[in-house]
């Protein structure tokens, strides 16, 4: 699994042909294929390339809608990689 920093994910903002990645609970999801993430923007208020964990608490849907998208990596936490438990 590829390890990203938040700065690396910021490059995947869905603009100018870039893929659209978002961070949710330490995982990096590729939302490029979503109709609702065209041009790296979601419902006017949200942009790709950022951590949406806090924003999702205010959203009219849960994290399950993000978790449907492919995971392309995890976020490097301070000093070490964040471990992801396998189901």
């Amino acid at each position: 699994m590829k390890v990203f920093t938040k700065e690396m994910v910021a490059q995947y903002n869905g603009k100018n042909g870039n893929a659209a990645y978002v961070i949710y609970k330490g995982k990096v999801y590729d939302v490029s294929a979503s109709f609702l993430w065209k041009d790296g923007t979601h419902q006017v208020l949200h942009s790709a390339g950022v951590d949406l964990t806090n924003a999702l608490e205010q959203a009219p849907h849960g994290g399950d809608l993000v978790e449907k998208f492919p995971v392309v990596g995890i976020i490097k936490s301070a000093g070490r990689s964040q471990t992801i438990s396998k189901p």
């Binding site: 109709f35 609702l36 065209k38 419902q43 006017v44 208020l45 959203a59 009219p60």
Partner: protein, 183 residues
Amino acid sequence: MARVAREMVEKAGINVNQLVKLLVKNAAAELTTYYYYTILRCNLIGLEGEGVKEIAEVARIEDRNHFEALVPRIYELGGKLPENMKDFHDISACPPAKLPEDPTDIKAMLTVLVEAERCAVRGYTHICNLTAGKDHRTYDLSQAILNEEIEHESWFSEFLGEGPSGHFMRRGESSPFVSKFLR
């Protein structure tokens, strides 16, 4: 544009440009859904399909009513509709409710319908949350639309076997909540 009405919303702390974009995206979702539901309705045939056709038709007509009701508010707030129909389709707040590969698969048809309604329920809940106590007119309109979208969702959900909607079919006129904005 209703200049003072817009000012009041701005003074209440709402980013009106963002709100207008959201309203346009949701208006786009309503009109494109009206179009796609036309195709779905035409393909709701046979013993199973005919049973769903009537509620699909009511949802279709009410979604068009939602579009009609949203348009004045967009212009009041200084917004406008896209001039290009393709742009309009592509900015929709919800994905296209496309005919499933096998239109005789009634579960697939119902899944398209219920997912379209669920997207709308999320969208209008979001607008209600943004405007509550700040933009009374947009809130009133969005809440009226939300009431109808929730009913649509529960109808299709019931057919999918997710549990009773607790509703009867519409009797007489459509859009019981939104009709006050259409007079």
